[in-house]
Symmetry: C2
Subunit: 332 residues, 2 copies
DNA sequence: ACGATATGTGTAATCGGTTACATGTAATTT
DNA sequence: AAATTACATGTAACCGATTACACATATCGT
């Protein structure tokens, strides 16, 4: 592979001039520029990233840390992020932490070490100290689907509260009178807010009682168990809002097992808007703009990397109600 | 961050000795080793990967190229690969190509350029020239779920032919007499072999006719459409083997729409063994050992990177029949 | 006892870039 | 016309490792 020296020799200039040309900083005459351009083209020269990085520049690499790539939500995030990163000629390192704080910590060390230019973190176990650690190392961080109060970390979140309200209102509009809720882990901000949204609406109904809320864990199995519990306590419920799509799917399984038909007997809505076209009935949901969030995360991260100023440290994205079969009025 | 110089100074030895100690090559006295170890510990020194790479060493980075991270098969692959890579202290770069040959080619160039130590490729559009290109650059490659005849590329594949037979035999054992097949893209080796497996068994049945095979594309929608077509042509079919789980899910949707019950009226089996617990009924499948394949891919790749010799260039993995609700005899 | 081999260590070149600094010329001010 | 300022380029130090080579000492075989 040709080096900058080869280029400089053939173009009859010094390496410094070539470097200036490449980085578009400092002065380079038109004449020199033309000569260099021609040689670069002829040799098909590409600067060596590694050498560049060593000389104090960026590594053109960002990392995406996700808690569980097997949860269909995160491949969608990964896909969006990867796309956007590519557009900036950044390479994306995938870090799957399995919700394991140790793995998380190990990754942070590794990434500092690999000198990634920035990190997008989606984690429910991350601690402020860890983020401060990264900031000390001057590595920009974007927090996704999470928010640490008081810190000066950029965080991106959907309007979960509003989404919770939307979902519950929708069930109400579809004629549900007794609406249960399967909530996600309570230590997760976004999860809590969805539940808050539910409560605001559900409490307006006479039927409301705290035992209409079942606590679960964002998994299919968890949703299944929570639904069984709800059926037992409230055999007459006619609507369920699950805080994510996976739990909604679990809930539907439990309902079908109990010979309750969805949507005829009970209507079910989820949250997230992940691709689940394989389901039947297809699940109504409150969709997050996942692609947009991923893209914005990268856009903002790149700004931080380049030292540009950021307007807002907390960005909220609007969610969208997507009505599918699981809440339609005319039963399928 | 401390450098090798800091360590050498504090330990009272030269940088060469420290480097020898770190790489366990050349001679280092016990005394020097102890001193160095202590200083490294005290400073929490970690060698700078970038400098290392520049000095001709490896980048400790491997890439995983997948056609579509949104297809649940690939997050599972990614997860396995990432796990294994981690165990070797390698970092994993994720490359999502969207089945787009141009993106693929662009990624190959980028990866060569980033000097990744090796690449695991899962692609149905990759061309032998591209792999040769990589080999010329001395970058080891592992081909996953694909096989290019005649080339000296390591390739890993499940026993698709056997899997196709297993699936079809299973349907037969469950009492199916007229078994249809939804096949995947015919230009994909693994897909063709599954279909071959089906044919061997299905042709033993009197009911067999070529129009029992519907051609599709590995997607849920594709499976749905193919199933509709099959129902039309063969209203009396009682078993369907779909070449992957997504198409099986699509088929089930189509059957339910046509008021045919799964598994009572028609039994359905898929292929892959991806996590689809959200389905109801849960889908029987011929499971590939995805985790093992991913791990083997990394193990083998690391061997190639280290210049170790490889025994077999084509490795086949056995598949396993997983019976779930969609083919059980006692209807749920 | 003496060359050969094994052990241990340091100096300096190298990987392929970036960039501070020196230097020189051309254009602009005053 | 002298003093600035803008433009243009090259030399060489530097980023943080690896490693060829030179050199020194210890151990060994005969």
């Amino acid at each position: 592979m040709p080096t900058i020296k080869d280029v400089s020799k053939l173009a009859g200039v010094s390496v410094a001039t070539v470097s200036r040309y490449l980085n578009k900083n400092g002065y380079v005459s038109q004449q020199a520029a033309d000569a260099i351009a021609e040689v670069i083209d002829k040799l098909n020269y590409k600067p060596n990233n590694i050498a560049r990085s060593l000389a104090g520049m960026k590594t053109a690499t960002i990392a995406l840390m996700v808690p569980d790539i097997l949860n269909p939500f995160f491949p969608e995030v990964a896909r969006a992020t990867e796309d956007a990163a590519n557009a900036y000629d950044y390479t994306l390192i995938l870090c799957n932490t399995d919700n394991n704080p140790e793995k998380e910590q190990k990754y942070i060390e590794t990434l500092i070490h690999k000198q990634v230019d920035g990190i997008i973190i989606s984690s429910y176990t991350i601690k402020p100290e860890q983020l401060e650690h990264l900031q000390k190392r001057k590595i920009p961080v974007i927090l996704m689907d999470n928010h640490l109060s008081g810190s000066s970390i950029v965080s991106l979140m959907s309007n979960n509260f509003n989404g919770g309200k939307l979902a519950t209102e929708h069930l109400q509009n579809q004629g549900c009178r007794k609406i249960a809720h399967i909530c996600g882990p309570i230590h997760i901000t976004s999860s809590r807010e969805r539940t808050n949204g539910y409560e605001v609406i559900a409490k307006q109904l006479d039927s409301f009682t705290p035992s209409l809320i079942a606590y679960s864990d964002f998994t299919v199995k968890g949703g299944y168990r929570a639904m069984q519990e709800l059926i037992q306590k409230h055999p007459d419920l006619d609507g369920v809002f699950a805080s994510n799509d996976l739990m909604a799917a679990g809930a539907i399984k439990a309902l079908q097992k109990a010979n309750l038909s969805v949507p005829t007997d009970v209507k079910v809505i989820g949250f997230d808007g992940i691709q689940m076209e394989m389901m039947s009935p297809e699940i109504s949901t409150v969709a997050q703009p996942i692609y947009e969030i991923g893209k914005t995360a990268v856009d903002t991260l790149v700004k931080l990397i380049n030292g540009d100023s950021i307007e807002t440290y907390t960005q909220t994205f609007e969610v969208e109600l997507q009505v599918k079969q699981s809440t339609s009025i005319q039963s399928k």
